[in-house]
């Protein structure tokens, strides 16, 4: 469609260009709304599905301190899911509809959570690298053009640094621990390093949603720029742990002032997105099972609230 922008559209774009936030009651193009619902709900679902691979280790955390910290961390993620569902609801869609879209596969969640957490080391790398990658993205989204989304990002970012720190602390203990612990750390880094680079999405040249999202300032930095930031910040962290870097082609580029990285295995990326990861089916069926098992509780709560309301009306 190449029709000229309407006055509304021009005013909308001007607002964005001048760094004003778009608020729920403001006029917005249908495409902007659709794009945002897709992105925020995907983000919300990621927080919620991400509880599974980490929750998987709460009962086995090897010290009481780690158990408490991990539990608090996973609980934070549930809270993030809540903020983000609320932010999505400001666009006129209900949580029930969003959950349905997740469970029927219409909505996505971060593909990283389709990788299994096999060892305690994975709780370290997930916090360190997966939350670390998410932070790069979320810091940039604090300036996103949609007000409720930007504000939930600001809230979320405050908690995220604790998540990354707890993951890195796990890695530090492992890296300076017994030979078995150290190899647990290295093995986990090897498995999670590349998938965490994939979290930034395809190259900018391949990304279906990038151009529009940048124009509307839904996204503020491109996939490749954010990924570069993450690659650069991770190098000294790996060095400090005394672990081997999984990218054998990694090289400092003096001219760019950045590391040049080896190529990501995009076939694996698409493969996992398309349902061939270890846990794709498991994550959704777990979510469906918990949701269905909880139906009678939600029904009871609704029935109880209705009864109390009727009782109050009678008394009045």
């Amino acid at each position: 469609m190449n029709s000229l922008p309407s006055d509304l559209e021009r005013a909308f774009q001007a607002k964005i260009d001048n760094e004003y936030k778009i608020e729920p009651k403001d006029w917005m193009p249908a495409g902007y709304r659709k794009n945002l619902i897709r992105q925020i709900s995907q983000h919300a679902h990621s927080e919620v599905i991400g509880m599974q691979p980490e929750g998987h280790w709460i009962t086995r955390a090897p010290s009481l301190r780690r158990k408490a910290v991990l539990l608090a961390k996973v609980q934070d993620e549930a809270g993030h899911g809540l903020y983000l569902y609320s932010a999505t609801e400001t666009m006129g869609i209900t949580r029930a509809e969003l959950i349905d879209a997740l469970q029927t596969g219409q909505a996505k969640y971060a593909s990283i959570f389709n990788y299994p957490t096999q060892t305690w080391g994975d709780i370290g790398t997930v916090g360190w690298l997966v939350d670390g990658a998410a932070i790069c993205n979320q810091v940039s989204l604090q300036r996103t053009s949609y007000g409720p989304y930007a504000r939930s990002m600001i809230r979320i970012c405050k908690e995220e640094s604790f998540h990354q720190r707890q993951g890195y602390q796990i890695m530090m203990e492992l890296a300076k621990g017994t030979p078995e612990q150290k190899s647990m750390a290295q093995d986990s880094l090897n498995r999670f390093y590349w998938p965490s680079l994939m979290m930034f999405g395809p190259h900018d040249s391949e990304s279906a949603h990038s151009a529009k999202s940048m124009k509307w300032k839904i996204k503020r930095e491109t996939n490749d720029d954010l990924r570069q930031k993450f690659i650069d910040q991770t190098v000294p962290q790996i060095e400090f742990l005394g672990l081997e870097h999984p990218d054998k082609d990694l090289k400092w580029n003096e001219e760019r002032g950045h590391y040049d990285a080896g190529e990501i295995d995009w076939e694996e990326f698409h493969n996992v997105i398309n349902g061939n990861g270890h846990c794709n089916r498991q994550r959704i069926s777990h979510h469906v099972a918990a949701h269905e098992e909880g139906a009678w509780v939600r029904d009871a709560q609704n029935a109880y609230n209705a009864k109390m309301k009727a009782r109050r009306a009678e008394a009045a």
């Binding site: 086995r60 090897p62 010290s63 009481l64 158990k67 098992e293 009678w296």
Partner: protein
Amino acid sequence: MLDLKEKTKQYSTRLGDDSLILGHRISEWTSNGPFLEEDIALGNVALDYIGRARMFYTYAADLAGNGKTEDDLAYLRSEREFQNYLINELPRGDFAFTMVRQLFVDVFFSYYLKALTNSNDTELAAIATKSLKETRYHLRRSRDWTLRLGLGTDESKARMTKALAEIWGYVHELFEPDELELELIACGIAVDTREIKDNWFADIGAILSEADLAIPDAEWAVRGGRKGYHTEHLSMLLSVMQSVHRAHPGANW
């Protein structure tokens, strides 16, 4: 004869066991709650219990004075050594089961901890003071849920009735102090649970009747937690909980 310090250590350890095992069970709700808000709330309760276990264990380890830590007590004792009340180790069951257990335990702790704040042992009293605040919040929740589920739908009422019948037989041992506790009661250190029994029954009776539920007339009673005589569930729980720690002897985490 054991000296007072040794007895207090054992007492603090079993209080740690109660909290750790129940906290573990509640933590199993992570990502399994009926809705997200409830996942968060249950996570809070689990965290409170794990925090409480850490305080009791740390104190017990201090009293032992042999360089052992809270983690040695949590991870390196076997099912015969754990002395938690049986009610805490029962599998989480459905949401009704979890809430009935919470109601029983929360009412129990609301009296127990209050009494413990008056303990002659100032450290136990301090832990009790901190924990009592949490328990008041827990009890508000479990009471509210008991009302919602008791008065909600036919199904929720049926599930609550079933849960009550399944758990009832485990409450009796809560009010039967063993020899160790009797000695510590005599020293003004431990709580005499016989003295909170009437209040417990009265409160539970009142909450259940408000929720249109009833105390089951079950005759059976199972005992043994304080002696390390556990249900089959505890060894499975410990196998899971201790697996990583025990696979790497002496490691730091």
